[in-house]
């Protein structure tokens, strides 16, 4: 509620400034101009949004699958932990801005380079909290499972994997926040469609309001995805949200 009030005040100030200062619309469009662009260009925005949403969704999926596979491999093998972990950290220092055009040169304007970039950016924030959650599993629980004669796999399935689920979801939430930036960056490096592509074309055409509308859609999409994951968290791990000691 307070956030909504603050937002209204900020928007009002922005609108007043653009009207009173006489600033050019292609330098800073007024909120009403952005709203107009949002409405008038809706079919253009929608078709490009579908492209970018696909890149983000599929890229996240690739990141989650790869991230969980990596976390599992590192968890089960000390050798792999020593081998993969440093490489993984190293992979995060690759300057995306530099390799994005290279990937486009190798794989063309299609989906492949976008998926690679979104996955590369999103994968690390999934692996780290997942691994941390796996490492934090109570050593006494593992002992308990051993006295029951449980195999390594049974302990993983019944104890470690459910215990790691909150970590996986935390990682996914972190990833969602940066996936949109990664997709936009990938599109800027070379694409023929998508909201990033649209922004890139809108600025030289003096359609700044359209570029702002594209940004607005992208951030609304990220917020929605984040909300969806928070909802999934409540459904999948209700035990983490329950008050303790409510029984007589």
């Amino acid at each position: 509620m307070t956030a909504a009030v603050l937002l209204l005040v900020l928007l009002g100030g922005w609108e007043a400034y653009t009207r009173l200062s006489g600033i050019d619309e292609f330098v800073l469009p007024a909120p009403t101009a952005i709203a107009t662009a949002l409405y008038e260009d809706r079919s253009l925005l929608w078709s490009n949004f579908m492209v970018t949403a696909g890149e983000i969704g599929l890229g996240m999926l690739v990141a989650i699958v790869l991230g969980l596979a990596c976390a599992g491999a590192i968890h089960f093998s000390t050798l792999l932990r020593r081998a993969i972990y440093p490489l993984m950290v190293g992979s995060q220092t690759i300057p995306i801005v530099l390799i994005a055009p290279l990937l486009v040169a190798w794989w063309g304007f299609g989906l492949a380079p976008k998926l690679a970039i979104v996955a590369l950016v999103c994968f690390f924030p999934i692996v780290v909290p997942t691994l941390d959650a796996l490492d934090r599993v109570d050593a006494d629980l593992r002992k308990l499972m051993r006295t029951f004669g449980a195999s390594r796999w049974q302990t993983f399935r019944m104890v470690e994997a459910p215990a790691a689920l909150p970590g996986v979801l935390t990682g996914a939430k972190l990833s969602v926040a940066i996936a949109a930036i990664a997709a936009t960056l990938a599109e800027l490096a070379g694409s023929d469609a998508g909201l990033g592509n649209l922004m890139l074309k809108a600025i030289p055409q003096f359609e700044t309001a359209r570029a702002f509308a594209a940004v607005l859609i992208l951030s609304a999409f990220s917020v929605a995805l984040f909300g969806l994951l928070a909802l999934a968290e409540r459904r999948l791990i209700p035990w983490a949200h329950q008050p303790r000691g409510t029984a007589p």
Binding site: M158, W239, R244
Partner: protein, 259 residues
């Protein structure tokens, strides 16, 4: 040298009627230093102890005297450096209930059955029946967070019993509970073990708990731990903690501890 005789592998769901015994002979166990500048810790030395089939033995001692190491040796979680440990597979119940927060009470109690490969429905049925016996009827679907401390320990004990192991290792099972609940749980455990006899090794720092529950009480020395006294508790059950024989035994055990 280690001789660990394991009972033939069979479905733990069927409780073996033949109860196992526990025999430790001249056991020593030293843990390597965790880092440089720290001396290695000899947890137990010259430790000998026997629990006959169906007997409840309690082990009392000052903190850090190797009581937990003793249980890990019995459960086969760690191997002795010297000496021998002979015990059928044992189930461990710890001070913390270690219930899985995402599983309901009945699914927590059925954990060992599920590990043994018992089908979900059958495992739940067995677990639910035992929970009802333990006064937890109606709480089968409750998550651990919705149960009180005493209830959680009862679920943990049901899980331990359903492992089908004939030897139970209880590591200060009620230490985390408040004094009143602890007394209730001690009486409850005594009656549960009367109904379903097991060979029990109970580790505790509560001398009264040891005397009230056990057939025999071993007093351990400070680290490196070994048995310095063994007291027989020949008092019929159900026992009253104010019974004069029990009070006298408690005094003796306390004297041995101070010695």
């Amino acid at each position: 040298m280690l001789t660990r005789t394991r009972a033939p592998e069979e479905a733990p769901a069927e409780v073996e009627t033949r109860l196992g015994s526990v025999v430790l002979r001249d056991v020593a166990k030293t843990f390597a230093a965790p880092r440089r500048g720290v001396a290695p810790v000899t947890a137990v030395r010259d430790l000998s102890l026997t629990a006959r089939p169906g007997e409840i033995v309690a082990v009392v001692g000052p903190s850090g005297c190797g009581k937990t190491t003793l249980l890990e040796l019995v459960c086969g979680l760690t191997a002795p450096d010297t000496g021998t440990v002979e015990a059928a597979p044992a189930a461990l119940m710890a001070q913390r209930d270690l219930l899985l927060p995402w599983r309901s009470a009945v699914d927590n109690a059925a954990l060992a059955l599920r590990v043994a490969g018992v089908e979900r429905g059958a495992a739940r049925e067995q677990a639910a029946a035992l929970l009802r016996d333990f006064g937890l009827g109606g709480f089968e679907r409750a998550r651990p967070a919705e149960l009180s401390g005493g209830m959680r320990q009862r679920v943990a004990f049901a899980r331990t019993l359903l492992s089908g192991r004939t030897i139970l290792c209880l590591d200060e099972p009620f230490a985390a509970l408040d004094a009143l609940t602890r007394q209730e749980m001690q009486e409850w455990l005594a009656s549960a073990l009367l109904a379903q006899p097991r060979t029990v090794v109970l580790v505790t720092h509560d001398v009264e708990e040891a005397i009230v529950l056990a057939d025999r009480v071993f007093v351990m020395s400070p680290r490196p731990g070994r048995v310095v006294a063994a007291l027989d508790v020949d008092v019929a059950r159900p026992r009253r903690r104010t019974d004069r024989a029990l009070v006298a035994l408690r005094e003796r055990a306390l004297q041995e501890l101070r010695a």
